[in-house]
Amino acid sequence: MNVRKERSDRPKLTSRWLPRPRLRLGSPRSSRSPRSPHLLVILALITGCHSSSEKKQEKLRQERASWQATAQLTDELSERGAVPAVYRRQVMEKSSENLEKIRRQEQQLSQ
């Protein structure tokens, strides 16, 4: 009996916790549903931060400059005898591989 009483004393959850009925399309409040602002913020973050074509080009330009600097520094250090030939060869291979990849991506972007 006590159990039953406890149960009947519990606050009714349905009104507070069950999902509210959906607003009909065209209803004046539909554009201001509580979820919309969050959705808008997320969309704005995604679209605002996602790389545009210009940003991609700028990123590729930076990557190209980075690999060119890598090759140049490796050459300088190799001439000084600071790095072995086996290492120089690896860096040069990686460098030309990456520069070729960047060139292809730049071509795709410009088309």
Binding site: C49, K56, K59, S66, A69, R80
Partner: protein
């Protein structure tokens, strides 16, 4: 005298064992892309790690429980299954990164692709764990790891502006590429606060039979050892800032990183870089493979211990065997070790609250720690860093994956 020796060895192990694939790669990337701006992330991660390591050691010394033992006992196996699975998965990825780091070091020295080295490295990790005791694994790796101090020498030779380093201990807004900036910051924190470190430390304290008399030793090792270790990581960042950032050179592949020591130190710089990468990653691989085995064995209540013969703790030995060999296979597939490392570190940051919050609850439980429960400062510092790193990771990882800025 023996306590002094213990402290000295603990400090050496802390310093020598601090740098591994994750902290090396993330610090080098941060310095190359953002100069000295991300020094604060290393400092924050190091402080958090020092607190966590001290807690894990204190728990073991006072309650004679390892961390997984206490977690299973306090929360039950159902709850414990969550951190168990998360830590094992994240640690496995980090183990693969470390095996990748050793393989890369061998590639840099020989020109033979890292893929072919990976199975041999995994086998060497297993063999060492199988044949040797805990002391050799822990202290040996730490002592050899002192070679990483070469980064401090290089940073001094490059005349690192110490004033600017100090100024960047305070976080600042990124000047460009915010997504990459925050992603790198969480990767650094993830690299510093890898859960395997404090799980390994708590198991080590039990293996070394610590009691309450070791609380002072524990505090010194955690504070000074991790603090000096953090200085080595800051030195890597400073070298990258001065050698790479000034030339517009970003770190996209491991092959670029040796240049940061070869430039200031010449041929010896290159040799010591390869040695540092190989030794630091090998030491970390040993610790992580053991840590996974400790976690699983202690979690399921199996017999465990690196000081007993493998046959006497068969399931424990089998766990590190499988972990090491599988991690070797992951690298053998040809996955980019640098990308794997950075991504593992970001995932580690993401998982921090799951691993850290149960520890904090135990560290405030008088049944386990009596009067040695946590001070509120330790609770606040660890909770703040873990939750912050997790929140930033939730935002930065998807943005970085989308290639956003």
């Amino acid at each position: 005298m023996s306590k002094l020796l213990e402290i000295a060895l603990g400090l050496v192990t802390g310093i020598g064992g601090f740098l591994e694939a994750g902290s090396l790669a993330t610090s080098a990337q941060a310095g190359a892309s953002f100069g000295l701006q991300l020094v604060w992330a290393i400092a924050l991660g190091t402080i958090c790690l020092a607190f966590l390591v001290e807690m894990a050691g204190r728990l073991a010394a006072v309650s004679k429980h390892t961390l997984p033992d206490a977690m299973r006992e306090r929360f039950g196996i159902r709850f414990f299954a969550v951190p168990l699975v998360v830590v094992v998965l994240v640690s496995f990825l980090v183990l693969a990164s470390e095996i990748g780091g050793v393989s890369l070091a061998l590639q840099l020295a020989t020109g033979i692709s890292f893929r072919w080295w990976a199975p041999a490295v995994a086998l060497a990790v297993w063999l060492l764990l199988w044949a040797h005791k805990f002391g050799l694994v822990e202290k040996g790796a730490g002592l050899l790891g002192l070679v990483t101090l070469v980064f401090v020498v290089a940073a001094l030779k490059l005349h690192t502006p110490l004033g600017q380093v100090a100024a960047n201990l305070v976080p600042s807004q990124p000047k460009e590429e915010p997504a990459k900036y925050w992603f790198t910051a969480v990767s650094i924190i993830g690299a510093s606060v890898s859960p395997y470190l404090f799980y390994f430390y708590s198991a080590g304290a039990i293996e070394d039979e610590w009691d309450e008399g070791y609380l002072g030793v524990n505090r010194l090792i955690a504070g000074l050892g991790m603090g000096f270790g953090g200085i080595v990581a800051i030195a890597v960042l400073a070298c990258a800032a001065l050698v790479f950032h000034t030339r517009g050179l970003q770190v996209d592949q491991y092959e670029q990183i040796p240049l940061l020591l070869a430039q200031p130190l010449g041929r010896w710089g290159f040799i010591l870089f390869v040695a540092s990468l190989g030794i630091a990653c090998f030491g970390a691989a040993l610790e992580i493979a053991l840590s996974i085995a400790y976690l699983v064995a202690q979690g399921f209540g199996w017999k465990w211990g690196e000081n007993i013969k493998p046959g006497q703790a068969a399931r424990f030995s089998l766990t590190y065997t499988v972990a090491a060999l599988l991690a070797g296979l992951v690298i053998f597939t040809g996955i980019d070790p640098l990308k794997l490392t950075i991504f593992s570190m970001a995932l580690t940051a993401l998982s921090l609250p799951i691993t850290v919050v149960p520890l904090l609850i135990i560290m405030n439980d008088r049944e386990y720690l009596g009067d040695n429960v946590n001070h509120w400062i330790a609770n606040a510092a660890v909770l703040f860093v873990s939750v912050l790193a997790c929140i930033v990771a939730v935002v930065a990882i998807p943005l970085q994956l989308m290639g956003g800025s």
